[in-house]
Amino acid sequence: MKAVVVVFPGSNCDTDCFNVLKDVMKVPVEFVWHKEGSLPDCDLVVLPGGFSYGDYLRTGAIARFSPVMQAVKQHADSGRLVFGICNGFQILLEAGLLPGAMLRNRSLQFICKPVTLRVETVKTAFTQKLTQGSVLEIPIAHGEGNYYCDDDTYQRLADTDSVVFRYASEMGVLGDEFNPNGSRGHIAGIVNERRNVLGMMPHPERASEPVLSMTDGLGIWQSLAGAL
């Protein structure tokens, strides 16, 4: 497996993702600047978290037009893996690679804290080594993670087993009190119908090493490494 991490102006989790892939997973990885019109030959593209273009206009709205995004689209169209984390998820939504959109958090506050997620499906390359229904503790850090989609889209996500993570209690119970941002259906992460493009708001790269005090994100990287 070979991975690339795309760097936009304003990305700030690019190095964290690079570190997990290179030093923890021992996967060959390189950075690609957003101005590049093509990607090196690779299996996985990571769109990292941050504040690309200062979140101007809407989160991810400008980054979507970066030259590299054409290549990311082709990469996804060819069936290879794309992983958008936080701002990367927002970019995938704006680019139309995943359905729906992000609204401001219900509280209007930027929320930076560990949350618990329930694994809704293990039938993706990103989650194949996880246990269905298990709960992961992974931090979030966003002001606009309130996922929205219309009724038809929500139904389609359910029908196609495309909701990958939902905010839940430590015991895996769903409820408004465990939903940090007001996301529809407590959604924290979704996959496309082809199951090769995943977006999630929580940051597994911040929870994959004992030194970071949380390691529940590791299973996602291990799933990816095992898939390729």
Partner: protein, 83 residues
């Protein structure tokens, strides 16, 4: 010819507006209870070149549809003014 386009963007009716709700509650807390609902939107002013009003409108709609608004959550209206 130069035109000024003013574009008003609002969240779709089906989309909850947490910012609008917070503003409404602040108004109520101030004793200004007359507002029944508040929706917070966005406003753009564009100055553009176009051969005529129809062309200017085409440009504005293209810009809105491709970048300025996200059709999943937002609606917009616009007005044109010849400068």
């Amino acid at each position: 010819m130069n035109y000024k386009a003013t574009v008003n963007v609002t969240l779709k009716k089906s989309v909850l507006d947490p910012q609008g709700k917070t503003v409404l509650h602040a108004l109520e807390a101030m004793g200004l209870n007359q507002a029944r609902d508040v929706r917070v939107g966005k406003y753009f002013e564009l100055i553009l070149d176009a051969a005529g009003e129809k062309e200017a409108g085409d440009h504005v709609r293209t810009m809105c549809d491709r970048l300025l608004i996200n059709p999943v959550i937002e609606d917009y209206t616009y007005k044109l003014e010849k400068l």
